[in-house]
């Protein structure tokens, strides 16, 4: 069974601060996605990383896939209240198309 441990579970910060969310596993994933979910809505895909060591940037968000494809991180620079939400990492197993293993999520609150 593949497991993804996501940390921290909760983050409460002030506007303008930086933060990093971590996603770790003992399993290798063929790809890893990060999603953002708001209350009452489904998760929205932010990024997919596929290659070990890959770094992708989406405005103030930086995503990194570990060299061994077992871990990933999400770094947000100068957080804004609009960044508030639940952030989920999800790994796709090598032989399981689209059978995602999700982390338990990080609830981020950015105070003005």
């Amino acid at each position: 069974t593949q497991l993804l441990e996501q940390s921290p579970q909760f983050l409460s910060i002030q506007e303008g601060e930086n933060l990093t969310v971590y996603c770790n596993s003992s399993s290798v994933f063929s790809s890893l996605q990060w999603y953002r979910q708001e209350p009452g809505e489904g998760p929205v895909l932010l990024v997919t990383v596929v290659t070990g060591g890959e770094v992708k940037k989406l405005k103030r968000l930086t995503f990194q896939f570990g060299d061994a494809r077992k871990d990933s991180s999400l770094h947000i620079t100068a957080a804004q209240p609009g960044d508030t939400g639940l952030y989920l990492c999800a790994g796709n197993g090598g032989t399981s198309y689209g059978k995602l293993t999700f982390g338990q999520g990080t609830i981020l609150t950015v105070h003005p």
Binding site: S31, G42, P43, L45, G98, L100, Q104
Partner: protein, 114 residues
């Protein structure tokens, strides 16, 4: 371009009853997956449908079953409802060709079992 549509949005059922949830995938997508998300948790994979057949299944009992229609829409059925089945049920669609690059999720159906 419509995204993933789920119905109903909310549902209250009594323990022991049966429920059917519906999903229309994003235009152009042919694969539908269902996830269960308990409060405060990440989604858990229930099963995936492609070409009207169940292609993969997670660790859910046989009380959970599904169907995919020729137009790619899908249903999730849960029999003999338990209190623990209360959760947000998410439908996600994707395109089967090539590598998997992520889902488009619907807004979910909030099921409450009392």
């Amino acid at each position: 371009d419509a995204g993933v549509t789920q119905s109903p949005t909310h549902l209250i059922k009594t323990r022991g009853q049966q429920v059917t949830l519906r999903c229309s995938p994003k235009s152009g997508h042919d694969t539908v997956s269902w996830y269960q998300q308990a409060l405060g948790q990440g989604p858990q994979f229930i099963f995936q449908y492609y070409e009207e057949e169940e292609r993969q299944r997670g660790n859910f009992p046989d009380r959970f079953s599904g169907h995919q229609f020729p137009n790619y829409s899908s249903e999730l059925n849960v029999n003999a409802l338990l209190l623990g089945d209360s959760a947000l049920y998410l439908c996600a669609s994707s395109y089967s060709t090539g590598n998997f690059y992520g889902y488009t999720f619907g807004s979910g159906t909030r099921l409450t079992v009392v």
